[in-house]
Subunit: 212 residues, 2 copies
């Protein structure tokens, strides 16, 4: 019984995700689903992308949080169009939430939408939103073993940003082990090592952002 | 329909949690459910507790992970009885998993069981295990805003450890904002600020561990 109901939910989500994807393709809108643990640096990275693209491409933000609008307020202050989705306890965004947020944002053709998903390395990987790309942010303080423990999420990513590299001197982080895990699970994913604090590695990452 | 099925699952979980709790009370076993984001330092803190209690109290470990047995192997090497639970995609442990793990461990009366839950600040707060205490580990690099974003988890905690305080000089962390959030959501919870790297703050925390 439980399985049948869950299947029903997933079918509906998959159908809406498909419609979202068709709409974005037709209107040449790139939609990046930004995924990470709590506190990995999603918001800071999205802010850096917004600054970089300021005069290049129109950007919209969708903020997913269980509670609060702390991050959405940061973007609103910078004049970037933003919609806050509070899931009210829900551990991930779904395709219908994205559809509703897009209907509020009314994005221009050719624009970029950055979705900050709920901070969670598990559940968001099970819910296709209809996005164009999945960008996983993994931070140095979380440790080099994360790919081995959160296999679905790392396999699900199209690109991976290792953030907070400025903390490498203070943390026992085995880069080789991290890279091996990433390449095993996501052999095609681009891997960027960045520090939004020092700016290290952002140039390569922005080159990639410019092409999506 | 979905709600009814979910209610059924929660009823069964609650019933098993109640039985677990009665068993632990009867046998004077303290069971601590250790909760955190991925990479907040749960394993390192549990290792520190094991070292401290080595000659004081019998300790058992239950390791919850979606995949891998990286952490369980660390404890096995130290000769500490450990059971690994792989949830196979599941985002939290449940009361039945705890019951089964305990039946394998066969803990002594008066002992301490430390459960390392799946790294996730959302879902584990919805599933009572029948534990004695919930210990939330929040790490400095995750940022001071976590209590405001993960309200259920912070409200659910009986004690909170702010870990990795050795990184405070390198991170923009507003301690007052963090503390205000913690006290608002968990007014009765003890808050410990520790670094397992330097040992700072561990003495107070171990005093508390000694009393549970």
């Amino acid at each position: 019984m439980e399985i049948r109901v869950m299947q029903g939910i997933m079918d509906v989500n998959g159908e809406i995700a498909k419609q979202n994807r068709e709409l974005f393709l037709e209107r040449k809108i790139t939609v990046v689903n930004v995924l990470a643990s709590p506190g990995a640096g999603k918001t800071t990275l999205i802010q850096a992308i917004c600054s970089f693209l300021k005069d290049i491409r129109k950007v919209y933000i969708i903020e997913g949080d269980i509670a609060s609008s702390i991050d959405a307020e940061k973007f609103e202050k910078s004049g970037i169009p933003v919609v806050q989705i509070n899931t009210g306890g829900g551990c991930h965004l779904d395709a219908n939430m994205l559809r509703e947020a897009v209907s509020i944002l009314k994005p221009e053709n050719g624009s970029l939408i950055l979705i900050e998903n709920v901070g969670n390395l598990v559940c968001p990987a099970a819910f296709d939103l209809g996005d164009t790309l999945r960008l996983l942010v993994a931070s140095v303080p979380e440790g080099h073993d994360k790919p081995y423990k959160y296999v679905s999420m790392f396999s699900y990513a199209d690109a991976i940003v290792l953030s907070k590299t400025d903390l490498l001197p203070y943390i026992d982080f085995d880069m080789k082990m991290f890279e091996n895990g990433v390449h095993a699970l996501s052999p095609k994913a681009s891997l960027f090592k960045v520090s939004c604090k020092t700016g290290e590695g952002l140039e390569d990452f922005f080159d990639w952002i410019n092409k999506i």
